[in-house]
């Protein structure tokens, strides 16, 4: 672990904004992934100047710095693999400007997604990224992960909502990236480079985001299916029909059972359900989309289709999906839901095949997996359900995961749709992007020559994710 000059750091952030007690460091070593590692110190900066000063100090002393939002990341992105300074960004949580005329807002990175939307709602607009974790995820974390969510099928991922940002670089320089305009062709799109960079290239200290009007009408539909294949084929049929849903979510039987056990929501016990939504300013337009999607579901043997325009009812129906990931741990006694192999994207035409493959691979490797996700945007979620205290299960998981990614790559899919690479997905990512790794390393080297910003992640992460850090679970030897 790196030695840090506590007194000097106290001088920068103040006595109240620093923690270095062993218990506090233990807490900050963890996120929603399977990884854990101790930082050397935790700082809670409140100004851009403080962050610049911290970076200048860390850069001269070669101390790793890991920015951290809500630590809801699932691949160990915010886990300090080599120790160093954790920058807890949640204190910088002001909404700085809402500019209705020019259609953007400026926010500090620690603003929570739902909090931003609560405020935007009073202006009749919303920031549409909507990851399932929107109640906790910070804007900084979303940008660094290029998060997306249930409505990305219509409104895109974070990269489509970011107009610009202020970033503190490894040497402490402050850069203004992007613009306040809808389009920009002024050279390298460095703001885009920061999106998805997982804290390895710079610290996002302010973001300019665009927003869109809240549609007057939203209709949510639920269709049941007797086979996962039929549900998978329906997704592909909906998307290639030219329909414009604002959401298409899949839940397979493992997911349905888990949510019913954990939440007691009484979802139908079928092989799969599709949740679909259309939104718009005119009811007829929404009806048109919904009717089109409904017919496609029926054509693919979807049945028991229910539709709801009512906001409360929609929230109730959607709650199961929103709480799905953590609920998966309730599927089987003694099993826990681990954030592994969790968010690949595949072309629409390969959805059904991929969902089937996921279950085949799980069965073969003594783990349980679920196929669900924001399938309208091509994202297929899985989680590995296993007994995390058994060593053999980690070998099973390792094998299952490598088979899954082999399949994903064989159908031209990609390793991560939204949760990022961090540590646990790095091996598959390195295989997929083998021809661009050198370019990525060159960019990293140019912007962070001393390799202090969130080191050993993504292209630089260890080859075996299981041993990359201590696991957050205690495993019997």
């Amino acid at each position: 672990m790196k030695n840090v000059d506590i007194e000097r750091l106290k001088g920068i952030v103040g006595e109240k904004n620093i923690k270095y007690n062993e218990a506090d460091l233990y807490i900050y070593g963890s996120d929603a992934s399977v990884h854990q590692a101790m930082p050397s110190v935790v700082l809670k900066p409140t100004t851009i100047e403080q962050i610049q000063e911290i970076m200048r100090y860390a850069n001269s002393e070669l101390i790793p710095v890991i920015p951290r939002g809500a630590a809801s990341g699932m691949t160990g992105q915010a886990v300090p693999i080599e120790g160093g300074i954790i920058l807890d960004m949640k204190q910088m949580n002001e909404i700085l400007e809402i500019n209705l005329e020019d259609i953007y807002c400026r926010v500090q990175p620690g603003v929570v997604d739902d909090d931003l939307n609560k405020v935007l709602k009073s202006y009749g607009v919303f920031y549409p990224v909507a990851p399932a974790s929107s109640r906790i995820a910070t804007i900084g974390g979303e940008i660094a992960n290029n998060a997306s969510g249930v409505r990305s099928v219509k409104y895109g991922a974070v990269r489509d909502s970011v107009l610009g940002m202020k970033v503190v670089m490894a040497n402490g320089d402050l850069l203004n990236l992007g613009a306040k305009t809808r389009v920009e062709a002024s050279g390298y799109q460095l703001d885009r480079l920061m999106v998805g960079s997982e804290g390895t290239l710079g610290i996002v200290v302010e973001a300019t985001l665009k927003f869109v009007p809240i549609p007057k009408f939203r209709c949510l539909g639920v269709a049941k299916f007797n086979t996962l294949d039929e549900a998978g084929n329906t997704i592909s049929a909906i998307m290639s029909s030219g329909a414009q849903p604002s959401m298409v979510e899949l839940m397979d039987n493992v997911a349905i059972t888990a949510v019913n056990k954990a939440q007691n929501l009484g979802l139908p016990d079928v092989e799969a359900v599709l949740l679909f939504e259309a939104d718009g300013m005119v009811k007829e337009a929404v009806d048109y989309e919904i009717d089109k999607i409904k017919k496609i579901c029926e054509k693919n043997n979807g049945f028991g289709i229910e539709l709801s325009y009512d906001a409360k009812e929609r929230t109730r129906i959607f709650l199961g999906r929103k709480k799905l990931f953590p609920s998966l741990s309730k599927y089987k006694e003694g099993y826990a839901c681990t954030a592994l192999a969790d968010d690949m994207a595949v072309p629409y035409s390969k959805m059904a095949e991929t969902a089937r493959k996921i279950h085949e691979i799980a069965d073969r490797n003594n783990v349980i997996m679920s196929a669900y996700g924001h399938c309208g945007s091509g994202c297929m979620h899985t989680k590995i359900l296993m007994n995390p205290t058994k060593k053999s299960q980690w070998n099973d998981a390792r094998k299952a995961i490598s088979e899954i990614y082999e399949h994903v790559q064989s159908v031209n899919g990609t390793t991560s749709a939204e949760h990022g690479i961090g540590l646990s997905k790095a091996p598959a990512f390195k295989k997929e992007k083998f021809d661009s790794l050198n370019a990525m390393r060159a960019i990293k080297k140019a912007l962070d020559p001393n390799n202090i910003l969130n080191p050993l992640k993504m292209q630089d992460a260890p080859d075996d994710w299981v041993t990359a850090t201590k696991l957050r679970y205690t495993v019997e030897s």
Binding site: K19, D24, S30, E94, R135, T474
Partner: protein, 185 residues
Amino acid sequence: MKFKRLEKWRDDLNICIRCGYCYEQCHLYKVTSWETDTPRSKLILLYGMINGEIEPSEYIANKIFECFYCKRCDTNCSAGVSITEIFTDARADFIDAGFDVDGTTSKTNDDLCSRCGTCVYICKHEARSIDKENKKILIDKAKCQSCGCCEAACPSSAAYIVDGWEVSEDEMSEKVTKFLKGVVV
């Protein structure tokens, strides 16, 4: 330290996925704005303790005794972990191990207390009792849920909840004002 009661929560501590859904509504966290005061963090500490990765300490014990039992964390935890029940069992284990910390639990100012017993009858968590021999109010800190009923009911203003966990009232109001200013354009 023995984890007589905590031990039974081992599986639950495994299924907590550390998503953080529990903490955006935790008012203790909202005031201190340190992740270390969140329910998620407390579970992480307890997990580390029962697995021998971190030593139980007064610092950790105090954190576990800091909770107002509003139970929003329980409601928001979609893995269905009974977070506050785990805290109560952990507290009892800490007490057995000789840790004497207060956290946010209620106290009695013996000089002001008239031993009327109102607080004992009002406490729905059965955390208060009268020690007749020593003529004193006893508080079971494992059971106290810091609801404040004793403080509100005490005719002598003797029962009280410790205020200001490192944050003064002024600072608290400054934080709220700052946030509101940020959102009013």
